[in-house]
Amino acid sequence: MGKLIIVRLLRMFATLLAVSAITFFMLKLLPGDPINQIVPLEKLDDLELVAEKEREYNLHGSSIEQYGRWLKGALRGDLGKAITQPKRVSEIIGDRWTITAELALVSVIFSVLLALPIGIFSAYRQGRTSDRVLSAGLQTGLSIPSFVIGVFLILIFAENFKILPATGWTRLSDSVWGNVKGVILPAIALSMANMAVFARLIRADMIATLQENYILSAKAKGMSDWFILFRHALRPSSLSVITVIALNLGALLGGTVVIEQLFAIGGLGRQLYDSILRRDYFVVQGITVVIASVYVVLNTMVDFVYLAIDPRIRGGRH
């Protein structure tokens, strides 16, 4: 067991190392030199100034040397200096991660809250018209890109009914009500595709569970359908969806890029997008590594949960 945990942890660090290296060298492949963003265009012929700025921003030496210096700093918690802002990358991430994390978390909560009744009801009404209608609806939810849903939500709830803000973000520390109002539309837009996935998973697992003998036995005892569904069937049908939720939470951090741009929310996703456009290499690198870390850590945690609950994995057979 202990050996397995060590192996999993080593694998996690190896993945993070690979992600950081791939991101770093891919950014290096982009056309253009980041020094053009740092030194004013009119002064690019001042070679001394260019060399000084290259040293200041870790742009001197070969790409491998640059990566080595970045990695050394990263291990100490210093992800480098941003090019377009007078801040350290870790400071920029620190300013914004709570926004994106809250958005992703609320989105997952919305997804689960919607997916549970839909999935359960679909399974309960399996094969009937209502099940087919809901399945078609879920398919639609899965197919429509989140930004399209976002635009519709803005049109309906902001422009027409004027009950929710079209854009903007209020931090929880500034105003709870302002924060709640601001998170609703982007979180719903972000949650639709996940909701469809979760609902389909719940439905499939629930259908399988409802075939079990103990369910038939409960029915024979005269228990009500709702009691059977929620007390006996839901719990064993939730394991796979819990795994997917954990994994999706990591993926959602990356998925916020478009939604944060659309709703003008200054989170990690928007910073990532802006930094790519502005060639702010170290910010892109830092945010990518943070998102990858969350993903990998969640993945590893799921592995540990499996280790804890499944003796076959502990035995090394999987």
């Binding site: 802002q85 018209t129 309906i156 422009e159 973000w169 931090r171 659309l262 003008a264 456009l277």
Partner: protein, 603 residues
């Protein structure tokens, strides 16, 4: 029966949602749909005459009444965030300028004729050869931290500006050598070369915006989020990419004509909303009460949604278009450049950009309402005539001396490149279709993000020649013509600068931002002469010669002048018709850069 009812209800609900989304907003009981600021009603005492600012668009507005209505918050949706609020370090374009001008004052403002007039300065006087400028500061002005504005502040500012990323370029371009406090309120700017247009540099960031040098020196990085200026608003909070809040500067030095202290507003909130559609949705929904845009399509859409909004449109000198890399064959031949531009259907391109009825076709660096506009240059500009253009290109193709190294008669291969904006892509396709239809040109279209697009044209890696061919670009602004023209048409590479200096016997500066690489010693002479005189007619004649030469040699080309817009709710006035401290009518809202110190709500 129950199922059918449920289905019917579901259908009705879905229909209702869709109808609500598509229908007009008719619940704005207080919407009046004006395009002009309105009077205050009963308590109004005087009405100033209307002022027309833009050209072909309806922007007739009345000057604000002099009744005082203090209070209120303007939440302004901007198309981009300011990377920082340090005038010496952070480059600042239109959206950011709205923020800068809330926190900082400038030494000089521009009036309705786009000429510098005193703001924090009362006066700026040159010596005979324009190598020294003495600027006198206004008395009794204090920074937000209580420090007094003196000549020493400006001298200390220069020490910071000299090393700034943004101001370094402006110092080089203006020829500024040193700044000295020569009195309590007297500052002397000494230049390394004559510059009769030097005051134009003091009307804008990075040299003209006045910041508190002590605070800037103490924490230069922190200043990016906590600026200290003398402006009408004091920074309250800054959450980058979310919201920056400025509160009323209770000690602001400027008062209105009746002696009421400015500003009228309690707060200015700046929200960067990069998506054009959601920015418009935000003002329509009431999430914000003012927005700015530089996109023609958004101006069109805002006009369509103008219920309850006042639209401040402006059409300035800035124009879209592009350039040829004139150091690279076949663009080193004027026949090719001119021939290709004869295939540039400006009207169709403006339409593709969403600017029909909004954006005027450009023929030069000046719009028709600019004092620098030249009718002769407009008449000389290359007409849309694809057949004549193809004939010119054919002449090049049949020339045994053609510079692109291809066989006689072989068609041109050209690359047309723009950033990947949908409207720019549509415009490129219009141009590409006409060129391809000519039968003498093979066109490849490329799109790269903005940073790559600029880097390709900059060409630091190949001696500043660049790797661009036909490259989308923007030209001109409403500042003095020398600010844009001199760097663009100075020596484009260090080698050319050295050769030209030797040949002409004068120092010809190398300009890394001479993107079209067009070097014309005679034109350089006109541009140099234009900053050695302050006689407007003489300067205008020189710039007219430059525009005529550009029409003849076509290193750059144009689509349409860029219309810009600030939209506000119609209970807000004062964005237009503001005056400078000496009572001169100001420039209004050029390039969607609003001056918010006199804005107020009419209740």
């Amino acid at each position: 029966m129950k199922k059918s009812l449920m289905k019917l209800l579901a259908l009705l609900l879905a229909f209702g949602m869709i109808a609500a989304a598509c229908g007009d907003s008719d619940d704005d009981g207080d919407s009046t749909g004006t395009t002009a600021a309105e009077s205050d009603g009963d308590d109004a005492t005087t009405t100033a005459p209307p002022t027309t600012v833009a050209t072909q668009v309806e922007t007739t507005t009345t000057l604000p009444e002099d009744t005082v209505d203090y209070g209120g918050t303007v939440t302004l949706g901007l198309e981009a965030e300011a990377t920082g609020l340090r005038p010496w370090e952070d480059s600042c374009s239109s959206p950011c300028y709205n923020m800068f001008i809330a926190f900082f004052d400038k030494l000089f403002e521009i009036n309705s004729d786009f000429q510098p007039v005193g703001w924090l300065a009362t006066d700026g006087t040159p010596n005979a050869d324009f190598t020294e400028w003495v600027v006198t500061l206004r008395e009794g002005v204090t920074f937000h931290n209580g420090e007094a504005l003196t000549a020493k502040s400006i001298e200390d500012m220069f020490a910071i500006q000299a090393t700034g990323a943004a101001s370094g370029g402006a110092i080089a371009a203006s020829g500024l050598g040193s700044v000295a406090a020569t009195g309590e309120l007297e500052v002397t700017y000494t230049l390394t070369r004559p510059n009769s247009a030097f005051l134009a540099f003091l009307t804008r960031s990075p040299l003209g915006m006045v910041f508190e040098p002590g605070a800037a020196a103490a924490d230069p990085d922190g200043f990016a989020d906590a600026p200290v200026g003398t402006g009408p608003f004091v920074i309250d909070s800054r959450d980058v990419d979310n919201e920056t809040v400025g509160v009323r500067n209770a000690d602001y030095w400027l008062a209105d004509d009746d002696g009421n202290t400015l500003p009228y507003l309690d707060e200015m909130r700046f929200r960067p909303i990069p998506d054009e559609g959601t920015r418009l949705s935000s003002i329509v929904s009431g999430t914000i009460n003012a927005m700015q845009t530089l996109r023609q399509g958004t101006i069109r859409d805002t006009r369509d949604s103008a219920d309850g909004l006042t639209l401040y449109e402006f059409q300035g000198n800035n124009t879209g278009g592009g350039m040829f890399n004139t150091l690279v064959p076949p663009y080193d031949d004027a026949r090719v450049r001119k021939g290709l531009i004869m295939m540039n259907n400006q009207e169709a391109i403006i339409d593709a950009l969403g600017g029909t009825g909004i954006s005027l076709p450009a023929t030069q660096w000046f719009s028709p309402d600019s004092p620098w506009y030249s009718q002769d240059a407009a008449d000389a500009w290359v007409p849309f005539d694809p057949a004549a253009g193809a004939a010119l290109v054919q002449d090049y193709l049949d020339d045994a001396e053609r510079t692109d190294g291809k066989a006689v008669g072989e068609p041109l291969d050209v690359e047309l490149s723009c950033p990947p904006d949908p409207s720019l892509i549509a415009a490129m396709q219009v141009f590409e279709q006409v060129m391809t239809a000519s039968g003498v040109v093979n066109v490849t279209i490329t799109q790269f993000d903005q940073a790559t697009h600029i880097n390709t044209a900059l060409g630091r890696e190949n001696g500043f020649v660049g790797e661009h061919e036909i490259h989308c670009w923007r030209w001109s602004n409403d500042a003095d013509p020398s600010l844009g023209l001199n760097p663009e048409f100075s020596a484009p590479t260090p080698e050319i600068a050295a050769e030209a200096s030797e040949a002409l016997g004068v120092a010809v500066p190398f300009s890394p931002t001479a993107f079209s690489n067009y070097w014309d010693p005679e034109m350089f002479g006109w541009l140099a002469a234009a900053v050695q005189t302050d006689d407007f007619d003489e300067r205008k004649a020189l710039y007219e010669q430059v525009m005529l030469r550009l029409a003849d040699q076509v290193p750059v080309y144009y689509s349409g002048h860029t219309a810009t817009l600030i939209a506000t709710t119609d209970d807000m006035v004062g964005l237009n018709g503001w005056t400078t401290p000496d009572g001169t009518l100001g420039a209004g809202f050029p390039a969607a850069e609003g001056r918010w110190h006199r804005v107020r709500f009419t209740g």
